[in-house]
């Protein structure tokens, strides 16, 4: 069973909301990626989205753009990132890893080659921002190798498309909470809740994670009212940006992510009671 499916099954039976942090691989420091990933898990991450930096991140706001630029300036590339996942897997066999990024690095690496290598090191899924459902034949080798292809749904996604997305989705569906780039501050809960309800009506068993605009414990708890998981990206990346030595990175993760975890768990406990 894919670790992503396993994890969402566990969350469901425990009545907990999943917490999915996003970090750009190699930022703030390529030397501390693996300790950072372990720190994310210790602070309560249920799944890690590891950003593969790209030179032209069209869907990202300034925070993740700059993180990508910093990582690229330090020579971070796909082979190195796969190496980090492998190293992480030596100690952590259970936390699912999703690589998130853009197509070109994988296209140039070779889809079949990437798929084999990613599965071998313990990657569980990919979220390729510029590969929508219509072009998903492009990444068929990844699915064939057992990687989940995580699709996005957005406020501009109409019902017919939403139905097609839920049919093709694997792992979970990532609902983008507003039309915009990552890190913007435009979260308006009511329409998000309505669209997540529409997804749930179409595919009751498909986990839905909500991301974009989740900045802290309060916004995470608000999303947890109707989503299976929340994704925190830009706010975390920003928090990490100035923490270079390993201890500072670990501390920054705990300071930032642990309170979100506690708030989510407190909400789940209230809900159960």
């Amino acid at each position: 069973m894919n670790r992503i499916d396993q994890r969402f099954a566990e969350l469901k039976s425990a009545g907990r909301t999943g917490l999915i942090p996003f970090v750009t691989a190699g930022d703030p420091s390529p030397d501390h990626v693996v300790p950072l990933m372990h720190a994310l898990v210790e602070a309560g991450a249920d799944l890690i989205e590891l950003g593969v930096p790209f030179s032209d991140p069209m869907a990202d706001g300034p925070v993740i753009q700059h993180a990508s630029e910093r990582a690229l300036a330090k020579g971070v590339g796909l082979a190195q990132i796969l190496g980090w996942v492998g190293e992480f897997r030596e100690k952590d066999k259970n936390t699912p890893i999703v690589l998130m990024g853009y197509l070109n690095p994988i296209e140039i690496h070779g889809y079949a080659k990437f798929a084999d290598e990613a599965v071998a090191v313990g990657v569980d899924g990919v979220l390729l921002v510029d590969c929508p459902l219509e072009e998903s034949a492009t990444i068929k080798p990844l699915a064939d190798a057992g990687l989940h292809r995580i699709f996005l749904a957005a406020p501009t996604t109409h019902d017919a498309r939403l139905a097609a997305l839920t049919r093709e989705a694997s792992g979970f569906l990532y609902y983008v909470s507003f039309a915009g780039v990552t890190g913007a501050n435009r979260l308006d809960l009511a329409p998000v809740r309505a669209r997540v309800a529409a997804i749930k009506a179409l595919a009751p068993a498909l986990p839905v994670a909500v991301g974009f605009g989740v900045r802290d414990a309060a916004s995470a708890v608000a999303i947890a009212e109707f989503a299976d998981a929340v994704v925190i990206g830009s706010a975390l990346v920003e928090h990490l940006a100035n923490s270079s030595p390993a201890a500072a990175v670990t501390a920054a993760v705990r300071d930032f992510l642990a309170p979100v975890r506690q708030a989510l768990d407190a909400r789940s406990a209230r809900h159960a009671a």
Binding site: S55, G77, N104, D130, E134, T157
Partner: protein, 423 residues
Amino acid sequence: MLAKPFDTAAAAAAIPAAASAADSINYSNYPDEHGRFGDYGGLYVAETLMEPLAELRDAYLRLRRDPEFIAELDRDLKHYVGRPSPIYHAERLSKKIGGAQILFKREDLNHTGAHKINNTVGQALVAKRMGKRRIIAETGAGQHGVASATVATRLGLECVVYMGAVDIERQKINVYRMKLLGAEVVPVTSGSKTLKDALNEAMRDWVTNVTDTFYIIGTVAGPHPYPMMVRDFNAIVGREARAQMLEEYGRLPDVITACVGGGSNAIGLFHAFLNDREVKIVGAEAAGDGIETGRHAASLAAGRPGVLHGNRTYVICDDDGQITETHSISAGLDYPGVGPEHAWLKDTGRASYVGITDEEALAAFHELARSEGILAALESSHAVAQGIKLARELPKDQLVLVNLSGRGDKDVHTIAAREGISL
């Protein structure tokens, strides 16, 4: 014995013949319904843009069959843009070169000084019909920005133009022109601070403001339907040229050439000739300091298939798939991708693509200025250089048609600075 002024056998060999794969293709039938030209093109964008792009595609496919829309576009092209643009026989230049006759399709004579207006007039009319109130655009040399600002202000639409900070520096005149036309010019400081980054930033604006904003892409790249739509609006260049050739010269040209950055003026000229197998087609890319130096922007000549800016095409990137910085003296050609239709024409062999260096383009700029009294844009000077090369190898009775896509007024500061002259 007098040396032969030309050697027809060698000249024929110098130009690649159409490959057999190209012979069975009807080029009018592309892209297919998925926006593909062979393996290239498509729709590689974030989910948020998928429905808006579908709406744009449907609106455009409807409008291009709508007689009222077509009539309005024709009126604008005639009375506002100043079409048709003439074909000019550069007799003095041809005589100096001593080979084939060089003809120029004078897109530099259009309103705002380049072919770019053909597309922006068309897209602005689409925007108006779709009820959008705000126009955004990216620009490299500034010609597309000026052309977008021009049509936006004429229709009373707000206009924001994204431009790389490096390009703002080298195209100051066009930046000021855009401001005079009421547009807001937003400097882009991410990445290489040139055209590709301006395109990224415009996409980010569009994804954020997609309900009321129309994105006028300036080249034949981007997600479907842009490569098709921008081509269609520029294809007036080739349709006119083809008819003018038949009327004024009684035959089609032997070779046609144009500069290729994203490739909009080139596809504009080429498209009407694609099914005329006897017409050779050559695109001139920016070889910058020389392809062997790595400092160039020749995606087709020196790049590889990849995915950038919403389409699969040839891109210039490293072995990790990161898009690398390009170089050209001409901001409008300084782009690491190229329109997907060109990628396909290269692979089918219907067109060939060659590099022209900064030095060759500058030499052609001066040659044209002094022999014909025309200041060509630096972008177009690459096509002029290629036209001269082709003419030199061909007999005097052959015709080389060059797309003179824009005028050089915007470049005089760059050229002066390069030659150590302060104005």
